[in-house]
Symmetry: C2
Subunit: 453 residues, 2 copies
């Protein structure tokens, strides 16, 4: 059973509410928007990802016979509820930002317009995929900015939070500019480039480190990466040099060495010298081991001779900020705008659009959030992606998303590229039309909704 | 496709190494152990979880025709490699700590004994499940200690890292003492008790908050939980009181109210008063919204009249420590102990056992790690769970694991129950026999292994 495909991968209250909606015939059109309330500390922007998984989920949504039997047996719902779920499909519309788009707090990245029960039920899983992929894409983008021009590889599967996280992390980091992943299944299923070296256990299983190197290299004559830190990093590098001549005679090239422990920056310098002096000037140095964007920035600043990095746990868990304040909120029901006013969690009502403005050099200048249909200049970021429950376009290629993300990162103003909070955050304006709608909703008492303009 | 079931959910280097082992006929018995190198800040212990998923994975491990075709097509491996993978099954032994057991850094929680290629291949996924469930069980145990006697519910699915994380978080937190989860599929698949309330969108979709309450409550006459903070928490509570009489006449009971925003501790006091004065003394108060063990401790210390808590993002991501330094290391190959000596990452060699000592009152006193078969007193924590690739016992019930975890938490010395680092960490001794083995391995040069005693 793949939990990702079950409509029961949801919160119990979604079903309880659906039961209540059904009992009252509350099936008018609802509009929900997914947005992030605020940035985690140190973040200046986010990178949207996960739309494809959300759309695939919506398109295949249906209750199986087993699901319906469980609903009936559970005794938690009204008698006719299972029959009502049996007919349930997602028949609504989705507008969304394209994956790889840079966005900011308060901006909807996805809008669902559908009969209330459908739009409500899908909340949990839609947040689940978009939140996680956006989290990882945003973290990965920071690594990319911190190590310009370097080969970055997702090494995180083992400490990702379960199987799907490993797969989605490979995808999200690739969109954001990583060169690839070590996760084989992500290569097979999504065509993400695969990278791999060797483990310490390989060296340990041989009686001699040099024999392990020779054995491994010989199987990969075009060049492989040898792990040199199992016993002593510099000694390991010298063994590689000593071997290289013999291997060359057999037509085998040593592609690179990997450092995975100790003072990586200093070791890279000494290993580079050992390799260069040994005539292995084109053998690359790859580093791994507890890396994150802050360590990468240090290596970049120090000019460390490291050609590539494996980034694992901190990438796939977004270690310093493992979740975002991502929410999916009702903005309109039955043609009337709605607004939640809970302390610290109030929302802007109505269907919204985000309009992006760029400066003369094409760099991001500011965004305006307004009600949909407002006469605004700027480029609207939310585009229709699903109608009547069917995707409007074939799935975009990861390469296209990756190019978009690269262009977006390149067009970030310098102050937002830093790894620390910018003193001047990106400006997101609330348009007068949206303020007016909110005031109307409030004047009407909040719970008695204002008419949409 | 369920990624959790594919043998290709692994790191590329596992396959590359297998190819090399195959080429050299390196198929002697290897012993790998999974352990956590050190505790994250603020942690004094960990709770083992995830064994069942690891064993299920090992038992079903096989390459499908599609997997083999990919291996062949990829051009990355030796010609005979796919045929060799086609025959691969896990035929080894597993020893492990039972789920719900408290353990400490440096102690193996799981030991795999199998032909080298098998034991190597499974590394990534075995760490993936045990790391994540242990992470969440350990976080959940802290919440349980911080809110004794309260009903704790996993609310985290939407911000869990993907689908499987949501399922496994429900399981791991239940083992550690949570009362249940909101994740429907976890209830259906694993029998974990389900809890749910209502969402703000439900209130917002109605034109009137009181009408929403009445509508929802009427469907759940035995008692449901009403969310009272959509507009104004105290006003919401007063509406519940006003409704309660009318509902009672219809045979409908208001079970509880939920607070999800604002100053939860202060609001709980005023809402408790409103409910009590309104004759709803048995209506419970449930709180949610950015909770973690530190907030729970504050409420407990203040005597806040809160009966239960929904804990979400911080639980399922282990927000303050989203990954552990969990590793799976080769300890023995072909009858000889092995040791990695990388800077800061050296391991103790050989097959090990953990012996637990308790004081006269049954509380945890200290552990001793030694080589297996050493004459040690204390209770050995690693027990055989799989032989010849088959589980030795039926899967243990979650209830049994939950009871074990409760007993373990009850037997923790007071200083380890705190949410901050204890000045006196739990004592884990390395037995003389293990030190002797390590010295022998080192004397032999580390890479030339010592004979096992």
């Amino acid at each position: 059973m793949n939990p990702a495909e079950s409509p029961l991968l949801t919160d119990l209250y979604q079903l309880t509410m659906l039961d209540a909606y059904h009992a009252r015939g509350m099936e008018a059109t609802a509009v929900f928007e997914l947005f992030v309330r605020k940035l985690p500390p140190g973040r200046n922007f986010l990178v949207a990802a996960g739309l494809e998984q959300a759309l695939a989920y919506l398109e295949q949504l249906r209750f199986s016979a087993g699901d319906l039997e469980w609903v009936q047996r559970s005794g938690r719902f009204s008698p006719g509820f299972a029959a009502c779920l049996a007919r349930l499909r997602f028949t609504g519309e989705v507008h969304a930002m394209r994956e790889g788009t840079v966005f900011f707090p308060g901006e909807p990245v996805l809008r669902v317009t559908a009969p209330l029960p459908q739009a409500q039920l899908v909340e949990t899983r839609v947040i689940n995929v978009i939140h996680y992929e956006t989290l990882v894409a945003s973290k990965a983008a920071r690594c990319v900015l911190a190590a310009p021009g370097r080969c970055l590889v997702d090494f995180g599967l083992r400490r990702a939070h379960g199987a799907e996280a490993g797969m989605l992390a490979a995808r999200a980091s690739y969109i954001a500019g990583f060169s690839g992943t070590a996760t084989v299944l992500a290569g097979r299923e999504m065509g993400i480039p695969l990278f791999g070296t060797m483990a310490h256990s390989f060296v340990q299983a041989h009686d001699d480190e040099a024999a392990a190197f020779e054995h491994f290299a010989a199987l990969h004559p075009q060049g492989t990466t040898l792990l040199v830190d199992t016993y002593d990093t510099e000694a390991g590098a010298r063994k590689v040099v000593a071997l290289a001549g013999r291997l060359r005679e057999r037509g085998v090239r040593v592609g690179g060495v990997r450092l995975d422990s100790g003072e990586l920056g200093a070791l890279a310098v000494s290993v580079r010298r050992i390799l260069d002096e040994g005539g292995l000037g084109d053998t690359t140095i790859f580093a791994s081991g507890n890396l994150d964007e802050y360590r990468l920035r240090e290596f970049t600043a120090a000019g460390a001779p490291i050609d590539g990095y494996g980034v694992g746990s901190s990438l796939v868990t977004s270690g310093d900020a493992p979740y975002l304040d991502a929410v999916y909120k009702l903005q309109e029901y039955a043609g009337r705008a709605r607004r939640k006013r809970s302390t610290g969690k109030a929302t802007w009502p109505g269907r919204k659009q985000v309009y992006r403005h760029r400066d003369a050099r094409g760099r991001l200048a500011h965004d305006v959030v307004s009600v949909e249909g407002d006469e605004q200049t700027g480029t609207p970021l939310l585009v229709p992606v699903m109608r009547k429950g069917r995707r409007l376009h074939a799935a975009e290629s990861l390469e296209a998303m990756r190019e978009r993300a690269a262009a977006e990162l390149a067009s970030l103003p310098e102050r937002l590229r830093a790894l620390e909070d910018s003193a001047e955050p990106y400006r997101v304006e609330i348009a007068p039309a949206l303020r007016k709608l909110a005031a109307e909703v409030d004047r009407a008492g909040g719970e008695i909704p204002a008419l949409l303009k």
